[in-house]
C-alpha cells in the first residue's frame, strides 16, 4: 500500500555498476597478470644473491636491495604469485567449508541445526588470529598451515551467512511449493537455495579474499606464515621493518602491494554490494508556484485549498498527480479513494508539506489556513496546524524512545509546552482515546504495545496539538477489523468534538463512506469523480465507471453512532 513517502522505486532505482567496481576489476587484473608473468621473467633478479647488498633506491634498484643483494622490486612483483595463490586457496577453503556447513545446517533436523548454529556462533566470536595461532601450534609454522588456518577461521562467516540466507530463502514461496510437491531436500538446496544466494556470497568472497590476503601476510609478517626461502608480501614487509632505521625504502614496495591488493578487493566488494543494493540518488523535493491561472478568492470557512496541483518525478518526468484541485472547509472530513499508485498519498504529502525527495510539485495555489504551502512556512506553524496519522503504527513510532518522551516533543515544538504541561496534556489525550493505564503507557517503548494501541497513541498525539487539519494516510489498513472500527470512531470523535478537519486517504470505499462528508476518487493521478453526498452514494448514483466498480466491490461498513454524531453537529 502506498504511504506518504512512497517513491516510485522502479523508476528511481538505476542499476548501474559504479566506476569503482570497474577500477577494482582492473586492479585485480593487474594483480593476476603480475602473478602470472613476474615469476617467469624476474625470478632470477628476485632470488640471485649479488654484491650490492642493502642498497637504497638507485636507478638499477628503485626499491633498494635486501641484505643479500636481491632486488626488492623484483621480489615484491614475484611474491605476488605466492601471496595471491595463498589467499585464493584460503578463500576457497573458507567458502567450501562454510557454505557446505551452512547448507548442512539447513538440511539437518531441527535439533542438529540448533547445535550447528551454536557452533557457528562460537566459531565467529573469536579473532581470526586466535584460530591461526591454534593451527600454527598444531601444524607448525609455514604458509600451508597458515592458509588452512585462515580458511578455517573465515569459514565461520560463510557458514553463518549461508545459514541465514537459507533460512530466509526456504520460507519463500517457490521453495515451499517445491517442498509440498515432494522435491527432496538436497535437490531443493542445489536447485533453489544455492543459486538464490549467489550475490551476497560473491560479495562475501570478495571481502574474505581481501581479508585472507591481509591476514596471511600478517602471519608471515610475524613469522608464522611463509618461511625462508619462500616469501610473500608479509615476509618482505617483515624484512623491511627490521631495517627501518638503516634502509627504510624496503618497506615501500610490500606496503604498496598490500594496500593495492586490498583496495582492489574493497572496490570490487563495495561495487558488487552497491550494485546489489542500489542507493537512490534523489534531489531535494521542490514545491513551486505556477502562474497564469485565474483563481477564485477563498471563502472564509475554507481551511485548505489546493488548485491545479501537478507532481512530477524528477528523473523520469512522469506525472504522479495531474491537475488536482481540492479544498476542505473547517470541520469537514474529505476522503480521497483510489488504488495504490493513484497519487492520493502524494497529494496528501503536498498538503502536509512532506513531499518525498526526487519529486517536484507545482500548483497555482496551495494554502492552509492562510499559510502558503508552496513558500516557506515555519516548522512551528506547520506543527501546530497539521497533524498526521500514518498507515503502519508499527514503524511510525521511534523504537528507541518511550511514548511519553517522543510524543511530548511535538507538543514542545507546536505549543511551546513545558515537559510537565506536555505530559499532562498527553495523559488526558491518552484517556480520551481509551488507552488503559495511561501513566504506564507513557513510560513504555513502542514495541511493548500492540498495533491498535500504537495507532491510538498516534491519534492521541494528533489531538494533543489541537491541529486544524488531520492528514490520515490509510490509518486503518494495517489493523484488523475490530481495531479499524475503534480508530475510525476516534477520528470521527476528534472531528466532532474538536472541530478538526480531516483529509482521509484510503483505498477502501467502505471505510471512507463511514467517515467522510465528501469523497474524491482518484485514478492515475487524476480526480475522476467527486461525490458530495456520501451517505447516499449508490452504484447507480455515480458517474464514472471506475467509481461504480469500486462501489460494487465494497461491502457496506456502518459505524455505530455515525448518525447520532452527524445529527448533533
Amino acid at each position: 500500500m502506498a504511504s506518504l513517502f512512497t517513491r516510485p522505486r522502479a523508476a528511481a532505482r538505476r542499476r548501474t555498476a559504479s566506476p569503482l567496481l570497474y577500477l577494482g576489476y582492473g586492479m585485480l587484473a593487474v594483480l593476476v597478470l603480475t602473478a602470472i608473468i613476474a615469476p617467469i621473467f624476474l625470478d632470477h633478479a628476485a632470488t640471485t644473491l649479488t654484491s650490492t647488498a642493502n642498497s637504497g633506491p638507485t636507478h638499477a634498484h628503485p626499491m633498494g636491495t635486501d641484505s643479500l643483494g636481491r632486488d626488492m622490486l623484483a621480489r615484491v612483483l614475484v611474491a605476488t604469485r605466492e601471496t595471491m595463490l595463498a589467499a585464493v586457496f584460503s578463500t576457497a577453503i573458507a567458502a567450501v567449508l562454510g557454505i557446505g556447513l551452512g547448507i548442512a545446517a539447513w538440511l539437518a533436523a531441527r535439533r542438529v541445526r540448533e547445535v550447528i548454529l551454536r557452533l557457528i556462533e562460537f566459531w565467529v566470536s573469536y579473532p581470526t588470529l586466535l584460530v591461526a595461532i591454534i593451527v600454527a601450534a598444531i601444524l607448525g609454522r609455514g604458509l600451508a598451515p597458515a592458509v588452512f588456518a585462515i580458511g578455517l577461521a573465515n569459514a565461520g562467516g560463510f557458514a553463518r551467512l549461508t545459514a541465514n540466507l537459507a533460512a530466509g530463502i526456504s520460507t519463500r514461496e517457490f521453495v515451499v511449493t517445491a517442498r509440498l510437491m515432494g522435491v527432496p531436500s538436497g535437490r531443493i538446496a542445489t536447485r533453489h537455495i544455492v543459486p538464490n544466494m549467489a550475490e551476497p556470497q560473491l560479495i562475501l568472497i570478495a571481502q574474505a579474499f581481501a581479508g585472507a590476503l591481509v591476514e596471511l601476510s600478517g602471519l608471515s609478517f610475524i613469522g608464522l606464515g611463509a618461511q625462508s626461502p619462500s616469501f610473500d608480501w608479509g615476509a618482505l614487509l617483515n624484512e623491511g621493518a627490521s631495517k627501518i632505521y638503516t634502509n627504510p625504502i624496503l618497506i615501500v614496495g610490500p606496503s604498496i602491494a598490500l594496500v593495492f591488493a586490498s583496495l582492489a578487493a574493497l572496490f570490487v566488494g563495495d561495487g558488487l554490494a552497491a550494485a546489489a543494493n542500489p542507493r537512490t540518488n534523489l534531489r531535494r523535493a521542490r514545491m513551486l508556484h505556477h502562474s497564469g491561472t485565474e483563481l477564485a478568492p477563498l471563502t472564509p470557512d475554507t481551511l485548505l485549498s489546493v488548485d491545479h496541483l501537478t507532481v512530477r518525478h524528477d528523473d523520469s518526468g512522469r506525472e504522479l498527480v495531474s491537475d488536482v484541485s481540492l479544498s476542505i472547509r473547517r470541520g469537514e472530513v474529505l476522503g480521497i479513494v483510489g488504488e495504490s499508485g493513484s497519487g492520493k498519498s502524494v497529494t496528501a504529502s503536498v498538503v502536509s508539506k512532506l513531499l518525498a525527495e526526487g519529486l517536484t510539485a507545482t500548483a497555482a495555489r496551495a494554502e492552509l489556513s492562510g499559510a502558503d504551502l508552496l513558500g516557506r512556512v515555519s516548522g512551528r506553524e506547520l506543527a501546530r496546524r497539521v497533524a498526521m496519522v500514518y498507515q503502519d503504527p508499527g514503524t511510525a513510532l521511534n523504537p528507541a524512545l518511550t511514548l511519553g518522551n517522543q510524543l511530548s516533543d511535538v507538543l514542545s515544538r507546536a505549543l511551546g509546552s513545558t515537559r510537565r504541561a506536555a505530559r499532562q496534556n498527553l495523559l488526558e489525550r491518552f484517556r480520551d482515546v481509551l488507552l488503559t493505564d495511561p501513566e504506564g503507557r507513557m513510560r513504555q517503548y513502542p514495541h511493548q504495545l500492540s498495533g491498535g494501541m500504537k495507532q491510538r497513541a498516534m491519534i492521541a498525539s494528533a489531538m494533543s496539538t489541537r491541529a486544524e487539519l488531520l492528514v490520515a494516510d490509510e490509518p486503518t489498513t494495517a489493523l484488523d477489523v475490530t481495531v479499524q472500527r475503534e480508530v475510525l470512531t476516534l477520528i470521527k470523535r476528534m472531528n466532532a468534538t474538536m472541530g478538526t478537519s480531516v483529509l482521509f486517504i484510503s483505498h477502501d470505499l467502505g471505510v471512507v463512506r463511514a467517515l467522510c462528508d465528501r469523497v474524491l476518487v482518484m485514478r492515475d493521478g487524476r480526480i475522476v469523480e467527486a461525490i458530495d453526498d456520501v451517505a447516499h452514494m449508490t452504484p447507480e448514483g455515480v458517474v464514472h465507471p471506475y467509481t461504480r466498480q469500486l462501489l460494487e466491490a465494497t461491502p457496506i461498513v456502518t459505524m455505530p453512532g455515525r448518525d447520532i454524531e452527524g445529527a448533533a453537529r
Binding site: 513517502f5 588470529l129 586466535l130 571481502q207
Partner: protein
Amino acid sequence: MSHSIDASDSLSSSGLGIPGGHNAPRELRASSLAGAWRRFIGRRLIGLAVNLVLLVLVTFIIVRLIPGDPAAAIAGTDASQSQVDAVRAELGLDKPLPVQFGQYVLGVLHGDFGTSFHYQLPALQIVLTAAPYTIAIAFASLIVFLFFGLAIGIAVGIITRGDRHRWLDHVFNIGAGLIASIPAYVQATLLIMVFAVWLVWLPPAYSPSYGLAQSAVLPVAALSLGCIASVARITRREVAVVLEQDYMRTARGWRLPSLTLYAKHMLPNVVTTALTLSGIILTALLGSALIVESVFAWPGLGTVSVQAISEFKDYPIIRAAVFVIGTISLLFTFFIDIILGILDPRTLGDHRG
C-alpha cells in the same frame, strides 16, 4: 582485520546480523523488563560457560592433534630420548587419553596450565602478566575508534543526506575505504617510519624508559585508524538507513528542530547498530592487536603467544594464552551486549550465545 569487519557489515545491511530488529516481541510489559534482563543474563552466562568448556576442550586437543608423536615434535629433531620423555611427562602424554583429559581439566580448574618450558614458571602466570597490556591497548583503541568513528560517520551521514554534497560523499568513500584497507601492521610500520624514525616524537617500540602511555600511542593509533574508518563507513550507511525510516518521517512530520531530530530521534537508533557491529570489530581488533604487538614489541598476549609458537614451542604457554585470549574476547562481547541491552531493551530478546 578491517575486511572481515566489512563482511559482517554487509550481513547486517541485509538485515541478518542485527538482533531484535523489527520483529521484537510485541507485548513485553515494563514490569517484565527485569525478567527479560534475568533471562538475558542467565542465557548469556550459560553461553559463556559452554564457550569456556569448548575452550578447555580446544586447548586440550591442540597438543593431541600435532601429527606424529607430539612429544617428539615439541622437543625438536635434535632432542635426546630423555628430553622427549621429559616433555611427554610434563604434558601428561604418557598416560591414557581419559586420564590425560581428566588431569588437564583438574589442572585448569586450579588455574594450572603446566609449567612454561622456556620461563620455568607457571604458564598462566606468564600469560596473566601479559594480558593487561593487551587489554589496555584494545580498550583504549575501542574508546578511540568508537568516538571518532561514530562522530565522523554521523556528521558525514547527515551532511550528505538525500544526496546533498555529493563531493563529500566521494571524498569520504575513497578516504575511508583507503584507510580501512591498509592492514593494521602496515599502518604500524608506516607510523613507526614517520613518528619514530623521521620525527623522533615517539618510541618505535615498547621500552620501560619511555613511560607506558607514550609507548602506547603508536600501537593504539595503528589499531584504531582502520577501525575508525570502518565504523565511520558503517555509521554513515546506517544514518542513511535510519533517516529513511517511517519514524523519522513521523518526526519530520512533527517539524522537530534539527537538533532534536538528529540527536534525540536518530542517534539512539544509529548507535545501537553501530555498537552491535563494534562487538564484531572489537573481536577483529583483538586479532590485529596480537599482530601489531609484535611490531612494537609490546609485551602483551600477542608477543607472548607468537614467541611461544615460533621460538620456544612452549605448549603450556600456548594453551594458557589461547584460553585467556578466548576468554577476553568472550567477555568483551558479553559487555558490549550488556551495554546494548541498556541502550535498547529490544536486544534482550534475541537468542544468541
